[in-house]
Symmetry: C2
Subunit: 401 residues, 2 copies
Amino acid sequence: MTVTDSSNSSRNPAPGGGADRLDKINPFRVMTVMQRAAELEAQGRKVIHMEVGEPDFTTAAPLVAAAKAALDAGHTGYTPAPGIPQLRQKLAEHYQQNYGVSVDSARILVTPGASAGLMLLAHLLVGPGDGILLGDPAYPCVRNFIHLVQGRPLLIPVGPAENFQPTVAQLETGCDARTTGLWLASPANPTGAILDRGRLQQSCDWANSRGLHVLVDEIYHGLHYVDDMPTVLEVDDSSFVVNSFSKYFGMTGWRLGWIVVPEAFVEKANILAQNLYISAPSMAQYAALAAFEPGSREIFEQRREAFRQRGDYLRRELAAMGFGLAEAVQGAFYLYADISRFSNDAEQFCQQMLEKEAVAITPGTDFGEHRARQYVRFAFTTSMENLEEGVARLRQALGQT
Amino acid sequence: MTVTDSSNSSRNPAPGGGADRLDKINPFRVMTVMQRAAELEAQGRKVIHMEVGEPDFTTAAPLVAAAKAALDAGHTGYTPAPGIPQLRQKLAEHYQQNYGVSVDSARILVTPGASAGLMLLAHLLVGPGDGILLGDPAYPCVRNFIHLVQGRPLLIPVGPAENFQPTVAQLETGCDARTTGLWLASPANPTGAILDRGRLQQSCDWANSRGLHVLVDEIYHGLHYVDDMPTVLEVDDSSFVVNSFSKYFGMTGWRLGWIVVPEAFVEKANILAQNLYISAPSMAQYAALAAFEPGSREIFEQRREAFRQRGDYLRRELAAMGFGLAEAVQGAFYLYADISRFSNDAEQFCQQMLEKEAVAITPGTDFGEHRARQYVRFAFTTSMENLEEGVARLRQALGQT
């Protein structure tokens, strides 16, 4: 097994800029896909979008109504840096009701998107030179936030054999003398893979025995299609959580997330929140209060069921075509598909599917280095009709008609 | 003249956290004032709030209506990372119409608040060890963003003699071999001081001759009470600007700002935007489109006139009481008042005013180190009636009845 210290990669420096760490931050390849897709659409072609990590549903009506009511009530000013107390209380209740864990609302900070939550936690937890263990593939911004605070992402290559989640044996091998943290994601992007309760517990136990902090990205919680979906707080109260209203709650454009930190880090986290972003958007916080009403929950569950059906359909069809896939969709709205039967160059493969058949998907190279050219990510964030059209086009492109 | 390298200060480390730079980030003293004010209010006392840097006006009706229309139209998703094109175009027109400068909209990136803009620019421009010249006093987050990217804030002490803005002679003295940038603010917080066109030009010329980048915080533009309020882009097209919809446009809680970068930095800035925050809030961007309608402008100008009247009144009354003040309010909604006739301890003075008379103001120690205990900041972000009440209470507290 090879562990890659990705801080060694380099690119051209920004003109005149003094910040070397930017050399390690790459643009997302999916942006190239999206730009070319937009060009094709401008030429009149219909593109099937399976590249975008954003639900196709607009925000649910009860949340929109709550935002409008908040605007009418004049809630247009800053809120306290960690969020309005009633939303933090709702989140504490959410942990109690849905996971059976008791979390003091003082430990929950509402953030302007999970991005800001990750940024805050990176500043809170990672010093220059600190090694942070994380899976490869993974959501690319996580690696980049670690670079931005001068930390060292220690990438653990994961594949189907490990259900795309690092094992304790791999972590043990990847850990060096200056490793200070373990960052996990479950369900993960781009794979949808879930770390089951037993493995989650083992990972935390191992990290605690090493004195490492544990951070878990839980932003796809709610969008899971397995029976048991534990938060890390159930197995390790000393861990850090980042979560979001974007995915299950369908609030991407509102920029709202939250983090949970241990009691001892509350004060520092609050100071960072004040400095980094003052507060999360006010009307988004009031809108989110309505997310915990039964009527909203019903809408979210209907949407989850739609995602489940789409994922099952797409997985079955792609597997029949010869894409390498896990046996079931576990979570999120992604399929991470092995294309080695068709190509050894994911970027070229994505380009070909787009040019030939106007099907937009994301190359694995956006998510890491481990076998990245052998994988592509399909997002089932479009209608069943579009997925069916996409499947037909892929068959055409692959000569399977 | 003494130049302070504020990176030498230190505090206790976060428990278990590996990030030493946090030791340089202090909580805002104003938070203590606000918490105590809330306690007094809970006891039934009426507090006169002159501590808060936020307009008391809610967001103007045309902007709220535009946000609601955007919600109805389903604009609840992510936008492009640098913002919706139509808003960037409006901002380009804003520079043309109000300042007579031509700025390509590609150089304008919409950000989730000026905070995110400053964060992005800190990552773009400041490497570890880089010295950044800035005035003392100044908005504290600026210094903290520099700390967070491992730069060195080089604080130039400024006072009434320099109109609270650094002179070229001071910059020359303060510049060291590893200085890479000059960060200015005009109108400035906490002083409201404006760098006039001649001095702005001189500062840029000096920085350019030294090979330093120039960044100007222009978030209080529009709230100026002088005839000539140049943007730095008029005198130096190679400079960086951070601006906001929070103050003049009255959109604090929406979290919306923008930055302007030179052409050569556009690509790197876009990559950082994608990584740091994905996009600014969608509905805030659509709301902001309405800010450029004539009806909205009229509201903003009425509010500016209200701020002017409040500022003039408060300056006159405070000066009559013996506070040391500039001869006129130049910009923003702040008065930075010398209290040396009453006290040599601004924090104690603020505490006394709050306990004795329930008047909330901010100690100078939130804004830097230079003579900070000799100053307090008054924000005239409350009604004229409240200001009159505040003045009467201050007279009482100071034994001037």
